[in-house]
């Protein structure tokens, strides 16, 4: 009975979310901000591991990250829409739709070609964004302060409120994804990763799996972009640059596709390494990040998710039913 409860996805998630929200009261403000940013990046990473479960890696998630951020920002500036929750939801829908439109084009390709085509999309968007002066060109623009159900929190609490919202959103998304990964379509996606031809020969469409996963990844990437924009209070074309996309791939590889919470942990690690080295070694933070990245790929090739897959996860290697 107790064991069943402990293995229950919803129970685990709610427990984790509550703990984090309570912790947020006691941890310093800079850490609250770092966690919020990590959640933004983690959402994008979740999208990539969803793709990875179907055998694809996108090197251009900056594309949807940018679209999500810019839609949230433009709605805030021009439509006066400042409700953070609503903006996150709208960016999810908008980029999900964009993803659905370009997915059939991308889903025909595999491996390095999929990665490079997605990268090309993000670079085209970057090229366009830096040219449009109406939305700030390469400088981007400032987002209006967020509200929550019509209330604007005071500056002291704004970061914490956004932190709580992002944890709730991330928790909700994680629960849904865990259900998807455990479901039959989720299992078929894993099969596509292993042997696409066989899946076709069993009568299922690998193409559809790729389209679905890309659409999910696009929606999540857009939501991450919106959250990142809201947290920073600023958006610029750097959101779509290939180095940003590279960080998302890094998070996903570091996490591995075996576990959902590992993605947020990986994103947090990246943000912590970035802010520590940015603070103490401002000239060499890329070097530290690069070395950290190489070491983590060498020493944990299947990702940090492989450490606690038994506790947390779904279809994993050699699992007894």
């Amino acid at each position: 009975m107790l064991r069943n409860l402990l293995n229950n996805i919803i129970f685990q998630s709610v427990f984790l979310m509550t703990t984090l929200i309570l912790m947020g009261i006691f941890i310093p403000n800079w850490l609250v901000f770092v966690v919020t940013k990590a959640i933004a990046y983690g959402l994008v990473g979740l999208g990539i591991i969803t793709l990875m479960r179907g055998g694809l890696v996108s090197f251009g998630q900056g594309f949807v990250f940018g679209i999500g951020g810019y839609s949230a920002g433009l709605l805030g500036v021009h439509a006066g829409l400042t409700d953070a929750i609503l903006l996150l939801f709208i960016s999810f829908i908008v980029t999900g739709l964009v993803g659905l439109i370009i997915a059939p084009l991308l889903a025909r390709y595999r491996d390095i070609f999929f990665a490079m085509l997605s990268l090309a999309f993000s670079m085209v968007l970057y090229g366009i964004l830096i040219k449009i002066d109406a939305i700030g060109g390469s400088d981007g623009f400032v987002l209006p302060e967020s509200t929550y159900f019509g209330i604007k929190p005071t500056t002291d609490y704004a970061d914490y409120v956004l932190y709580v919202v992002s944890i709730l959103v991330a928790g909700f998304v994680s629960i849904l994804l865990r259900y998807y990964y455990n479901s039959t379509p989720g299992l078929i996606a894993l099969a596509v990763r292993e042997n696409e031809l066989r899946v076709e020969y069993l009568g299922s469409s690998a193409f559809k799996v790729a389209v679905l996963n890309f659409t999910i990844a696009a929606g999540l990437g857009g939501m991450g972009g919106a959250l990142n924009g809201i947290a920073l209070g600023h958006i610029d074309p750097e959101f779509t640059y290939w180095t940003t996309s590279g960080e998302f791939v890094f998070i996903s590889i570091l996490a591995g596709y075996l576990s959902v919470p590992a993605v947020f942990l990986a994103a947090l690690l990246l943000e912590l390494v970035r802010s520590f080295s940015g603070r103490y070694f401002p000239d060499t933070w890329q070097l530290i990040l690069g070395v950290f990245l190489i070491l983590s790929i060498i020493f944990i090739p299947s990702g940090i998710g492989s450490f606690f897959k038994n506790f947390f996860d779904t279809f994993s290697k050699n699992k007894k039913s």
């Binding site: 090229g127 040219k131 590279g246 791939v249 590889i253 060499t284 933070w285 070097l287 990040l289 690069g290």
Partner: protein
Amino acid sequence: MIDEILTIILDGAIYASWLFIVALGLTFVFGVLKILNIAHGGIYALGAYSTATLAPIFYSLGMPEQFVVLTMLISALAVAIVITPIMERGILRRFYGQDEVLIVLVTYAIYLVLEDVQKLIWGMNSLYVSEPRELLGALEFGSLYYVGYDLALIGLAIFCGLTLWFVLNKTQSGKIVLAVINNPEISGCMGVNINKVYLAAFFVGAFLAALSGSFTAPLISVQVGISVAVVIESFAVVIIGGLGSIPGAVIGALIIGMARAACVHKLPEAEIFIMYFCMAGMLIFKPKGLFEGVQARKI
């Protein structure tokens, strides 16, 4: 009108030649090692920096100024000699045979490291070595005026491409490399030392990357951040031409070079993203590039 077309063609040819030299090493390394090397851009920057450092020393020695080309070659060689063992032996070798995308990420990490290595060695200041660019004077075509050095890049591109082609197709060691490209396992069984071939191929790729940096140094101000754009530019070339194909790199460089030159003169707003546009267009219609390889039967 004629002048304008001629300008576009010459500008395009110069830019295409530069792109080709930059992309040649990248596509060659992918062809042999199946690694899409993001750090290629970093090696390019190291080449530029070392030329910008060595050339002034060379001038201060009072040598005949034509020999500055030798300095550029030496600095490119030096970069390749230092980088190859560290990158190929030290890091990349651990990942052979693994997922291509994972290796891209590893090279991205190396790229990040190289970015800061440049800052640590050369600081944040810009370096200038414009002297070599004056070496060949200027040429006039009617009303057009071109720097001889820029035109010489066309010759350098042709030379690099032909040399690599010749070595690959007409020499014993080149044929071994081709065999490895074709089938590393079988070549290995037949006694080819794959590790040595990979090391040599990576060295050639690194040398070409550094060389392109060396020859670019007189054209730009060598400073932090010069590698980031080069990564995308060289990627665009090899993606258009097909990963791993030398003739493909020629075509890719020409397409982007000409399109960009045409944009500069006719549609300046589009200059920056015309390249991405070409790349996206090619990927949509011919995703494996113009010169794709044949796939083996699976079942």
